[in-house]
Symmetry: C2
Subunit: 363 residues, 2 copies
């Protein structure tokens, strides 16, 4: 059955039937707005966090690669990731659905099933939304709301020279999978298991909510964000907001074996993919040097992994990468720009140049 | 200049430069999420309200009719209207923009200018958002957040038989203008001034924020919503949620002179347009009989207008209209369904039938 056969209100009822709630949801789906009970928890000690991010078919997900469940997962995950990047706890989400009228209803069943499964895992209540018809591609626009203790809020603006750079999880898998699906040379021998693993990273990114809260709770994190525009690009955001420079140790980037295998088969440098992958949704943060051990331990304690990949420098030193041969290279911190045309994901090859001798400090 | 010439981050900076804020915005545009200070105001006494609604070019607005400023105004207005419908005070908004890459940047300048002007009028801070490229039509998806005193929250669910129905403002102008622009008979003599006035109602709906807060503050309003699916359709929502029926007095519907003139020129019945107009964004509420005078006075006191248009009945009596000849007609409460194809706006002619003698109570 198509959406326009079912109709708007039956669709909303179908998608929201038996939705899990939270005790702080005074009024959920089905009125003009959701009413959320801030109670005593979210009074003077906490800040409310709010973020929204859209996923557009063909741009942010490919129906040829991702299942409806995975599409739903990712639409919510990227928003929980933004809450995590502030050190916050996600609480509620609203889903705005823009769907072509000839879409099969079962596709949306799958999308909402994926979203609900992830919401359940993080105790997030889906409290509202909107359904609109569009002649354009299927688009899921999610708003996530959360809270953070006033003392724990971590922005992009606090990094200081000498802070170490810490990243959660592994980098590069999402872009390696994307390249394998969309730009593999015809004669490339793509390793099946490696592709399956990288595909999972691409279509079901795991929001680092527990890691973000644990990192913020150490009190040692001076700046944090999630990597959605590529490590280099997002580090550029921290540098800009904090008024600092940074060095990334290329050899230190955490890249797993399947991403390496996939990159090899595609004729790409896995570390350069890790540097510019646009869809990792790992957390990147600056940590005071004396807090590094505590930060690493905090992530480990919640079942996550974290790696030190560089450090914050003085602003005039800009954003640089130390290559495996020891050379310091300036990086164009463009990362992903969602409005410019991309024939292929950005590759560090085109963005890096040998830094001029005059401005380069080596250590 | 096109969006893809400017790029994502310069665009965001351009659209958000010098944005007005509020003292309760701890962190606005430019990080992973906005951080909002609930302070002492929004503690145990208040509920947080959250709603989102998307406007799609060609479906919710026509670039041939509305200026960019008007498009921006409406995208925010329909969301403030949802907060108003809960008796709430809008505080913050997030804007998710889905734009084709070849769109002119100046068009978005206008859209944001319209949005910012309305935000300023209601002291709403634009605190975040998202920009995504889409091959589909220009789409503005706004999330509005607000607050309401726990004792003042008005949902769709509290109407009781005997309550009177009150509507703010005037009805039917938006659909009359839409018909004039899209479905006027070739020989129709459209009155210019009437069209200009109806067009204004269509492209710049006024969110009834002050009216909604004033109505809720009387403590006499048992159910409320904003009319976005048409008076009959939205009253159907109240009936369904409250488990009641209702009678609309057709002759009582507030229709202004320009809408009447326009309907006449189009060969339409203005009262039937008022009954089914999909885009009025007036508030419709049920008021205890003893509270009617207080409710009318409360709206007047904030500079608004309100009209009593019917009453709530027992559920088994369904949703009915009393025609000018006194006949009681059953109404199909379908209203607007945003997923079904519409050759033209729904017209009461096709939705009404003489009610069978068996179930009709006349008074």
């Amino acid at each position: 059955m198509r959406l326009d056969d079912l109709g708007e209100f039956p669709l909303i009822e179908r998608l929201t039937a038996g939705l899990e709630s939270r005790t702080d949801v005074a009024l959920g789906v089905g009125d003009d707005a959701a009413a959320l009970d801030l109670g005593h928890d979210l009074g003077a000690d906490h800040l409310l966090l709010a973020t929204c991010d859209a996923q557009v078919e063909g741009t942010h997900f490919l129906t040829s690669v991702a299942t409806p469940e995975e599409i739903g997962h990712k639409a919510l995950a990227v928003n929980l990731s933004d809450i995590a990047a502030m050190g916050g706890e996600p609480l509620w989400a609203l889903v705005s659905l823009l769907a072509p009228p000839d879409l099969e209803v079962t596709t949306l069943d799958g999308v909402y099933s994926g979203m609900r499964a992830l919401a359940r895992r993080f105790n997030v209540a889906l409290v509202g939304g909107n359904v609109s018809s569009t002649p354009g591609p299927l688009t899921l626009d999610v708003t996530a709301l959360g809270r953070v203790s006033r003392q724990r809020l971590v922005t992009r603006a606090g990094a200081r020279p000498g802070d170490r750079l810490l990243v959660t999880g592994r980098l590069g898998a999402a872009v390696a999978a994307l390249l394998a699906f969309t730009a593999a040379p015809p004669d490339a021998a793509i390793p099946t298991e490696a592709l399956a693993e990288a595909r999972r990273a691409m279509v079901t990114p795991q929001p680092r909510v527990r890691e973000g809260m644990a990192l913020a709770a150490t009190g040692q994190v001076t700046a944090m964000l999630d990597i959605s525009d590529g490590l280099a690009g997002d580090l550029g955001h921290i540098c800009q907001r904090s008024g600092v420079g940074a060095i990334i140790e290329l050899a230190a980037l955490p890249v797993d074996a399947s991403t390496r295998a996939l990159a090899l088969a595609l004729g790409r440098d896995p570390l350069r993919l890790a540097l510019t992958s646009g869809d990792d949704y790992e957390l990147l943060c600056a940590v005071r040097p004396e807090g590094v051990a505590a930060a690493l331990e905090a992530v480990r304690a919640v079942g996550g992994s974290a790696t030190i990949i560089g450090e914050i420098t003085a602003p005039e030193e800009g954003l640089r990468v130390r290559a495996q041969n020891g050379a310091l290279l300036a990086v164009d911190a463009r990362g992903w720009d969602h409005l410019r045309p991309h024939d292929q994901p950005p590759d560090a090859k085109t963005d890096m140049g040998e830094q001029s001798a005059g401005s380069g400090a080596r250590s």
